[in-house]
């Protein structure tokens, strides 16, 4: 598997809202995070949803977001984070 990103890399989730079956939650789109780990490569659920094989497999990452990045009015502790698994084609280099 050739993965475009490595743990520790800053990434940004693409701001996109195509129709279809998307596994990238709305609340992380357009947000900056950091690669926490590479989960492996998996068939693409956006294709599986329509009865196709979803191949070739695509790298899936666990991406860590600062809660305050996602929710400006977040009232929890400083440094709290949330991790979301996101496919590579939803990620671009971040800041």
């Amino acid at each position: 598997m050739s993965a475009r990103f490595a743990p520790g890399d800053a990434v940004r989730v693409r701001w996109a809202h195509p129709p279809g079956h998307l596994r990238t939650p709305y609340y992380v789109r357009g947000k900056n995070g950091v690669i926490e780990r590479i989960c492996g490569a998996f068939a693409n659920p956006e294709e599986l949803a329509f009865g196709r094989d979803g191949l070739p497999t695509r790298p899936l990452y666990r991406v860590r977001f600062d809660q305050r990045t996602l929710w400006p009015d977040y009232a929890g502790r400083e440094g709290d984070s949330v991790e979301v698994e996101i496919f590579e084609h939803w990620l671009e280099p971040g800041t």
Partner: protein, 109 residues
């Protein structure tokens, strides 16, 4: 949710109230729906994959999505996938439903 790109089923981060943590019993038909999906999705058949099930649920329409129970959404989606693949036809299903309705009416008389 005024942004049209924010789909109805995508609830993450929206106000939702407290989580109800208690276990509840499942009706027999709900257990059957669960078993049906396991069989339809097994390695031998691969007729309804998880993502097909989810896509069907997400495509139910907002009113149906809100009003249907968990397993009602499942069976609605499973039905749509099986119709789409020609495993069953609307005509077969319609006739069977009428048959079951008639039987239930007979039993309840």
């Amino acid at each position: 949710m005024s942004d049209p790109g924010h789909r109805h089923h995508d609830l993450g981060g929206l106000p939702a109230g407290a989580v109800e943590p208690s276990e509840h019993d499942y009706a027999l038909w709900e257990k059957r729906v669960d078993a049906l999906l396991v069989l339809l999705g097994d390695k031998k058949r691969k007729l309804v994959r998880t993502d097909e099930l989810r896509h069907g649920i997400e495509s139910l329409g907002t009113k149906a999505y809100d009003e249907m129970s968990y397993y009602e959404r499942w069976i609605a989606s499973i039905t749509g996938v099986l119709l789409g693949k020609g495993v069953i036809t609307s005509d077969e299903l319609g006739r069977k439903m009428a048959e079951v309705e008639a039987r239930a009416a007979e039993e309840n008389r």
